[in-house]
Symmetry: C2
Subunit: 238 residues, 2 copies
């Protein structure tokens, strides 16, 4: 208690685990750290099993600011996705236990890309509408969720975003929800988010899904080789 303040800062916790896709994490982290700079009612933290450096699916290594134990009751949680390492994280009981405990008090449980598969493995998508990377969207049904093809999907306190770059859109939506539209616009100017995809919008009629289908099944089998029951539930929806 400092200066008579009784309100605590609301903690927005970003999860790190080995092998994640760093853009899933850093897009929303940059956006919500800008919110925290503009509004001292919020702080961002990066949580992991330890504060040691872990690898990602790029040559960059990253390190959390806090351990799971140091952040037992965050206001909001964001889980990033990835490929094989994310499927492995679906069976990380320490991560899952932390998510279940956090969800008891958190006002927002969110994910980017295949991070929603981890939320689902923790039992947090049961009966919820949710999304993930377009290539794996249908396997959400194996986790009790109803898959939805949108940039982000809000179902009560659970908000899931589509693949990788969708985390930036999700995060700007969260800023508006937490602090209003003007603050969200200020953050958008701060990160100069005025996208000009050089190849234009994605042409979903020509998505390379057919080419990638064998890769998808290979990824699932590789990530969940030691968890045949879970693998079976997901493969049943491919």
């Amino acid at each position: 208690m400092v200066g008579g303040m009784t309100d605590e800062q609301k903690t927005l916790a970003f999860v790190v685990y080995p092998g994640l896709t760093p853009l899933d994490l850093v897009g929303p982290l940059q956006v919500l750290s800008a919110l925290a700079q503009m509004d001292p009612g919020y702080r961002t933290v990066v949580v992991g099993a330890s504060t040691d450096t872990v690898g990602t699916d790029t040559p960059l290594r990253v390190a959390p600011s806090h351990t799971f134990e140091e952040v037992p009751a965050p206001y909001a949680v964001l889980v990033p996705g990835g490929t094989v390492p994310t499927l492995r994280a679906m069976a990380d009981e320490r991560l899952l236990a932390w998510l279940r405990t956090a969800a008891e008090s958190a006002q927002l449980m969110t994910s980017v890309c295949t991070g929603s598969l981890i939320l689902g493995a923790a039992g947090l998508l049961e009966g919820k509408q949710a999304t993930t990377h377009w290539m794996l969207r249908d396997v959400l049904a194996g986790l009790g969720a109803t898959p939805v093809a949108r940039r982000w999907v809000e179902d009560g306190s659970v908000i899931t975003a589509a693949g990788v770059s969708a985390g930036i859109d999700l995060a700007l939506h969260l800023v508006e929800r937490l602090a209003g539209r003007q603050v969200a616009t200020n953050v958008q100017f701060a990160i100069e988010y005025d996208p000009e995809p050089p190849q234009g919008a994605l042409d979903w009629a020509n998505q390379p899904y057919g080419d990638l289908k064998p890769l998808r099944e290979h990824t699932l089998r590789q990530g969940l080789a030691e968890h045949p029951e879970l693998l079976g539930r997901l493969l049943a929806h491919t």
Copy 2:
């Protein structure tokens, strides 16, 4: 030399320095690492003064994969931006010396956001068209460049991008330049880059520039306090 191959992989080097804005780095790194996965002719590396972890302008810490000395002749270089720490990096002689040496053989010298100020401090923007974060665009003139208000600006081998999130657009442009449009589209699907900014496009007629002008001068003075000559050159263009 393996299997009679004589061509070496082309190395795309992403620069890390303390205090950077991680989205400037990770957006393009994710895109070009996807290229490297699709085309073994390329590899991405993250370079820094050491491979130790450094802080960013968020609670995330990051660590390079290689030291500057280990990557003396990259095919392409990308320098991310930031706020006060980036201005300090403009006077980091070891970083500037590495950039000047790399520029002698590199086919592409690129930057995101205020990373272009570091390229400029190394003398690499002399006589070039360039851009940076919209708030600091005009100070590029103090580094010998002609400021241009575009998402990214290509002037021969030097390509500079606008603020923070513009690095994703720059990187997809680079993929198309290096590997063609179909590969760029495949990468775009992989990161599901189909932006839907929740607050719409930025309304440049209502940019908060006036409100932020004192912050801009404060940032310049704080970052370059020990380098009055350089500070003077930049302030002359504010």
